[in-house]
Symmetry: D2
Subunit: 133 residues, 4 copies
């Protein structure tokens, strides 16, 4: 089930176009999962000592995506500053995690997939940021 379906039944008007908003909420949920798996897979690699920064940034990204996805899921009496700052926190975390995973994409397939997902979430956050204004 996409967030779009249930957002359309919410008694309050959505904070942005439902398709753009739901895409961002859905990507936050997916990116949190993918980053959690990538951090764990990286810890299990033989070259874990080279993966320490990746582990750290994927954990930051999973936490930012979880918190931001939750804040954006709420349509009731939002605080614009809080929502914008949440989006920016998610954007920064996705960018850092994507950049680090891209460095390992050629030798760790989970990093290639994780970088892809972080960039997708980054784009969804960027699009929602523009749609909020």
């Amino acid at each position: 089930m996409s967030a779009a379906e249930i957002l359309r039944t919410h008694p309050r008007p959505p904070i942005a176009d439902v398709a753009v908003l739901a895409a961002c909420i859905d990507e936050c949920a997916t990116c949190s999962t993918i980053c959690t798996i990538c951090a764990d897979a990286s810890a299990a690699e033989d070259d874990v000592r080279e993966m320490v920064r990746c582990i750290r940034l994927c954990l930051d990204c999973a936490d930012a995506c979880t918190a931001t996805g939750r804040a954006l899921s709420r349509q009731t009496d939002p605080d614009p500053d809080t929502q914008l700052a949440a989006l920016d926190a998610c954007l920064a975390a996705c960018r850092a995690s994507a950049a680090e995973c891209e460095r390992h994409a050629s030798h760790h397939e989970h990093c290639r997939l994780c970088a892809e997902e972080c960039r997708r979430c980054e784009r969804a956050c960027d699009e929602l940021r523009a749609a909020l204004r």
Copy 2:
């Protein structure tokens, strides 16, 4: 992106059949989002005084799904007791939230959708629980 795709690139063997495991991880992520939206939508309803139990149980369910989805995402050196207890916590939360949302399904469409999602997550947890044994 489903968790299945990245789990297949993990250096450790998965804790269960990847399709069953990934279905559970994906439903935990979705159910956490849907419950967060249902709690917020319920708070915005005119009959919010009748929705207080729904708000509370949806928040519990979102938190349980987030924590359980994360624990199940990790394949490295798992502790069987911790994973089983995490699944049971998610199952209990999904059941309680589904039962309460079902009571409101006829007058609040978000509760109907949320109950459906909680039951789907409950089934995915049940199936993974059987696959772990």
Copy 3:
């Protein structure tokens, strides 16, 4: 146990003066708890219809505090943009939640206490923000 005690045993240098850093991490943990309780207490009040904005902003604040406290707890290979954006997300959420709870402080004691805690967390984030530069 304060975060300060274990941060002093971390193999990497802390991202800021340990006392300032630990104060912020500890306040994030406390503020997340207090906001979770205030949201729940507000839902149980007779005037819940007047408390809907308070519930929503306290939930945002609990989520932001959890994610930010986790990111700040990590000293290994930090990304400066991610940490600054996390702090700003927490600051915005604390300010919004404090301002709303202050409006209810005279008739709901939990809001008075929650506003106090949100302001304390806001100050701790502000002080860490200055110490990071």
Copy 4:
């Protein structure tokens, strides 16, 4: 601020003796922080390859403590099965994390402190479990 102070202002009766309940909520918050720091410190150690199980179990424990602390913070219309299962998930995670950290306590001071905190949280959960019955 302890959870006890604000729990005493909640309009609903607490699910257990406030001192026992607040001790458990406070330890969940502290244990989540300490485990997050221990996982990160372990990733930064020279012997990180020996610390992979510790990293993983500390992350599980941080997630379980966060979710359980939140569920226990709510006094409004609780579901007994959900609360008991949340406590059991936290207990299992604390036990596993404590046992692993105890193995590293002599050579990593952060593991010694983390094991201590996990045992403290385990006791607080055990005491609340008895007080709920």
